[in-house]
Symmetry: C2
Subunit: 262 residues, 2 copies
DNA sequence: GTCGTGGGCG
DNA sequence: CGCCCACGAC
């Protein structure tokens, strides 16, 4: 059987429910992981998803910021909600699928503007978050798919200009090294680059602030899907749905989809 | 020649420019007076009006609240901006048409919630505003059309329930008496009731807070067009465009139109 | 209920 | 740029 899993930082699932429906209608993934839902669990637009066949819904939201959710056409059960900052922010939810696959959906902190632990506490929190994810990751002993907005673009080819972004949060060496440690801790396979090796252009985010985002194309690859080595062997396709960036009232992130043959 | 003049409390002309265009396309009044434009003069959507042939535009706006404007297909010149509160609020603008007709566009203060001068200063300011309009009105000696949101429903038949609203600001006896003095000061002809005498139902405003506004029909006649006696003799029709209340993203007020044969 | 504004955040 | 919220006004 085949299974398709998508991930999308939606930047308010309520405000953008229309393009989420459009995406599900066009791509029909079996499972969709959302980040930055920005909604408390009671206000999650459950009905819209159920009407489209996504009847299995696991939410972990909060007021105002952050929030993650997983909606699915195939059965799944909630497994855990981890708090890698121990501050109560809703940045992770994990589920188990019927075939035993674990799916972990995470929204890594953005990290503020200044790439300095002392001057900018948020930057330190981001690095600490990645370190605690690394420790968690090293203990995993079952096939897992880790997806979400990691807020780090690791490779030079993951940003529009390696040189221009070396001191910009999301692409600084210290973040890239922290992400490398996380990846090594479970031998995670970066499915994006597995299917589209560097130096291929591969971006998942374009700032709202650039009005001519398509023309200037100053993108970054902040969103990722990482698989346990055994699971990666079953991945048959991976793509970034870049056209979604130009839909009406878009998110600044676009969806990723991986197809598995299990 | 005939001349049609409309008046509409639009509750943000920028937010509702779409239905303003729809109204102009359908009714094509020669002149449209707007209240609660909620826009500073520099941000008034001039281009949209000019594109529809309303090339003569006189605005008197401010940040955030209030604001009035007159847009016209026929030539007119700004005549005055009166401040009947002496507090700088943009609640009036007057123009002269080529035929000598004066058109005065006013947005009377709502007056707050409690109908008591002592407990609620805004109520006193509303009564003072009407008193100063009365003094101004008694000195008029040229044919004038006074239009706008008067925020008073004078007759028992001007509200959905005379009894229920006797103590509700907009229909209290003290406001009704103040409006009667204003009317008497120039022998103003109330064109709404001139063409649709009581007890005919005649409402121009329905609260946003009643979701089933059409079914419950708890309206009030807060908007008016008053003519000097000599001018009123030339009025040939007057109507309230009630369907506008059910358009997409409506104002809580609907437009009024009077046609003159001059 | 539905505006505008201003601040937080990304 | 563009979301969420709090506030004040009507």
């Amino acid at each position: 059987m085949t299974l398709s899993i998508a991930s999308w930082n939606i930047n308010s699932v309520r405000f953008r429910i229309g393009i989420v429906e459009q995406f599900l209608a066009e791509e029909a993934p079996d499972v969709l992981c959302l980040q930055e839902t920005k909604v408390i669990d009671g206000d999650f637009p459950t009905a819209a998803f159920k009407a489209m066949g996504y009847t299995h819904i696991v939410v972990h939201g909060q007021r105002m910021h952050h929030g993650v959710a997983i909606v699915s056409r195939v059965p799944l059960v909630e497994d855990n909600r981890l708090d890698w900052q121990a501050n109560g922010e809703a940045r992770h939810v994990g589920v188990r699928l019927e075939n035993g696959l674990r799916l972990e959906n995470v929204y890594v902190p953005a990290g503020g503007d200044i790439p300095d632990r002392e001057l900018n506490p948020k930057f330190g929190q981001k690095l600490d978050f990645l370190q605690r994810m690394t420790e968690w990751s090293s203990g995993l002993d079952y096939p897992t798919l880790l997806v979400g907005d990691f807020n780090v673009a690791p490779l030079p080819e993951d940003v529009w200009s390696h040189k221009a972004l070396l001191d910009v949060v999301s692409h600084t060496p210290v973040e890239v090294e922290a992400l490398a440690r996380l990846q090594a801790a479970h031998d995670w396979v970066d499915l994006g680059r597995h299917f589209h090796p560097a130096p291929a252009r591969l971006h998942t985010w374009w700032s709202y602030r650039a009005k001519e985002w398509a023309a200037s194309d100053r993108g970054r690859r902040l969103d990722h899907m990482w698989a346990s080595p055994a699971l990666a062997a079953n991945a048959v396709a991976h793509r970034v749905c870049e056209p979604c960036r130009s839909w009406l009232k878009p998110s600044d992130h676009v969806p990723l989809i991986t197809e598995f043959d299990l």
